[in-house]
């Protein structure tokens, strides 16, 4: 392999260092920086989930805003009407989003490929229109989170922000390392096989449909968790904001594609690029959005693998190793292939 040794250990080292620096951010970062980091963590979690879905199982969904909004709304509902502590309501909202994804996925899976993509969008619109009917949650105009609930997270502003920061940090970390752990597991082998060739995976006994469905439900739950946090941070929810296709799906897709789809590193790089560009060009208004669209198109035309994919192809080693390689000790020989039939599962 053409891996540079310095990079081989340098990059994971860099990653760990950055994680450690971010872990103590409340002690060095200002309030504005903390807010930006929290937002970036939310987008990283969304991007990892979309990447897991589209990059590995080939389920290109443009309707993930359904679960961002659902997570947000269920969180608001639980926090406001059941008196549950926000930190309990958030994981419950995630579980709820995952449960809703089961019947939803059953319907959406009747469509394939690009039609699946638009079908998921229709479903997200149904969620948005239904959310607008819940007058207890503000109907079409939305509702703010009561101050008492916000204060239950922490009595002082600083303490509250620190608690929220660690929630966001944990969500991003769990999303990233969770995908990594998943990909290194038996499921991961199936997922990588599906990514590389679905018919081949199927012929080797991977239950592709079941695997894809499981991933769909799993990503819905985690997307719902990120959604719950996003609207806790925003303190206000409305159908338009909660189920925004541009915000929660278009931007997330751009992040994944620019960074590099089908890799764990890609979404991380994509989030960094996205927030850097946004910081530099946010004053441009609509031109900034047009630029994002143009960059995504350019990536597809120039190198579909995105920034990380292009770097990796030029010898930069993975930070999150997920590939399996067969190492042979010197002097050993491979046993001759024997026609062995594995017992059926």
């Amino acid at each position: 392999m053409n891996e540079a040794p310095a990079l081989r250990f340098g990059l994971p080292g860099l990653f760990v260092a950055v994680v450690l620096i971010l872990a103590v951010a409340p002690f060095w970062a200002g309030r504005a920086d903390m807010r930006l980091l929290m937002e970036a963590f939310s987008f990283l979690a969304l991007a990892q989930m979309w990447n897991l879905l589209a990059g590995y199982t080939g389920l290109v969904s443009v309707g993930q805003q359904a679960y961002v909004g659902l997570g947000g709304y269920v969180f608001f509902g639980l926090a406001m009407f059941t008196g549950l502590h926000p930190l309990v309501a958030m994981p419950l909202a995630a579980v709820f989003a995952g449960l809703v994804a089961i019947p939803t996925g059953w319907v959406a899976f009747r469509l394939q490929g690009a039609y699946f993509a638009i079908g998921t969008w229709v479903i997200a619109e149904v969620f948005r229109l239904v959310a607008a009917q819940f007058t207890a949650l503000g109907g079409g105009s939305g509702i703010s989170l009561p101050v008492a609930i916000v204060k239950s997270i922490g009595s002082s502003t600083a303490g509250r922000e620190m608690a929220m920061y660690y929630v966001a940090f944990a969500i991003a970390l769990v999303a990233t390392l969770g995908v990594w752990a998943l990909l290194r597991s038996r499921w991961g082998l199936a997922l990588t096989a599906i990514r590389d060739s679905e018919p081949a995976a199927e012929s080797l006994g991977v239950r592709t449909r079941r695997t894809k469905f499981l991933i769909y439900v799993l990503t819905a739950g985690m997307t719902g968790l990120a959604g719950a946090f996003i609207f806790l941070q925003k303190l206000r929810i409305s159908p338009e904001a909660a189920f925004s296709v541009n915000e929660w799906t278009a931007f997330v897709i751009f992040i994944v594609v620019i960074g590099g789809i089908g890799t764990i590193e890609g979404p991380i790089i994509g989030v960094v690029i996205f927030f850097a560009l946004r910081g530099l060009t946010a004053d441009w208004g609509t031109w900034y959005l047009m630029m994002m669209g143009a960059i995504a198109i350019a990536v597809m035309l120039v190198d579909k693998r995105g920034v990380w994919g292009a770097l990796h192809a030029r010898g930069v080693p993975s930070v999150f190793a997920t590939t399996r390689s067969l190492r042979l000790e010197t002097g050993t020989t491979l046993p001759a292939a024997s026609p062995r039939v594995e017992p059926a599962e």
């Binding site: 690009a114 669209g293 198109i297």
Partner: protein
């Protein structure tokens, strides 16, 4: 009686939805390609119509011709030089490129025309109607639009089955890999398909502009209506698409009759019901 009225209005609305759907269906049929920016192209055509009539003072009928020519030319060039480059087995690149186009078009329209909603005035046609009785009255404009939609769909059908271009498109739809062996040029054929689809999109956009208010963000909803009509009707069948459009239109007007807030939701639910009960649509494939 109000229900019969809603039903008839829905049928007329369905003609427009069938036009939305025809372009989407045509491109999918020939290239297995779904254009996420389809609705935005319809809205672009609506703005072109508004601009040519309002600003340039062009005669409306000349305006329609102008919009069709511009959209068709843009469709050919866009397919030939941009979209052809991302077609392939991988479904992500075309989805992403058209998603990017959608964002670019919406924001460009916002930049040029502002967020105000617009409409193309049609003068006396706007209020002219044919009363069947006290409750049921059909607007002349919706009737004319329905007839126009039927005419365009019939023209498409004729092109598909009675012209050399149609033969080429059907052959490509059946097996795009074999067509080049017979001397066909896929890049050119794909561009022709998009040209034809864009012409239909142009007519749809013009009708949209005359029928209702539109703004730069009106595209995605139109894409979803088009998609729903295609799936309800069943893939690859022009008259099925018309039926799909009508089912969607009727569901929407019936929903609106129950509560104005339910119009779009009722359409979506009808689509989901068809998807659950008859995943291949009401009128499964008869042509390629």
């Amino acid at each position: 009686m109000v229900w019969i009225n809603a039903l008839l209005q829905g049928v007329l609305l369905g003609g427009l939805y069938a036009l939305f759907a025809a372009g989407l269906s045509l491109m999918f049929g020939v290239m297995r390609f779904v254009n996420i920016a389809h609705g935005d192209f319809i809205v672009v055509a609506a703005y072109l119509m508004m601009t040519s009539v309002l600003i340039a003072g062009v005669n409306p009928f000349v305006g329609i011709g102008l919009v069709v020519v511009i959209m068709a030319a843009a469709g050919y060039l866009g397919q030939r030089f941009l979209l052809n480059r991302v077609l392939g087995k991988d479904i992500l690149p075309p989805i992403l490129v058209t998603f990017g186009l959608s964002i670019i078009l919406q924001n460009a329209l916002l930049e040029i025309f502002s967020a105000d909603s617009r409409r193309v005035q049609t003068g006396w046609l706007e209020t002219a109607s044919i009363s069947l009785n006290d409750v049921v009255a059909l607007g002349l404009l919706p009737i004319l639009m329905f007839v126009a939609a039927l005419a365009v769909l019939a023209l498409l059908q004729w092109i598909f089955y009675h012209t050399a271009l149609g033969r080429l498109l059907r052959a490509t739809s059946d097996d795009a890999e074999i067509v080049p062996l017979m001397g066909g040029n896929n890049a050119h054929i794909f561009a022709l398909a998009t040209m034809l689809a864009s012409g239909v999109v142009a007519v749809a956009g013009v009708l949209l502009a005359m029928k209702t208010n539109f703004d730069p963000t009106a595209g995605p909803a139109r894409l979803l209506f088009a998609f729903e009509a295609v799936i309800i009707g069943g893939l690859g069948n022009i008259w099925g698409t018309l039926a799909g459009g009508i089912v969607l239109g009727v569901a929407q007007t019936i929903g609106a009759q129950i509560d104005t807030g339910y119009q779009v939701l009722a359409g979506h639910l009808a689509f989901l019901a068809v998807l659950v009960l008859r995943p291949r649509g009401l009128f499964p494939k008869t042509i390629g």
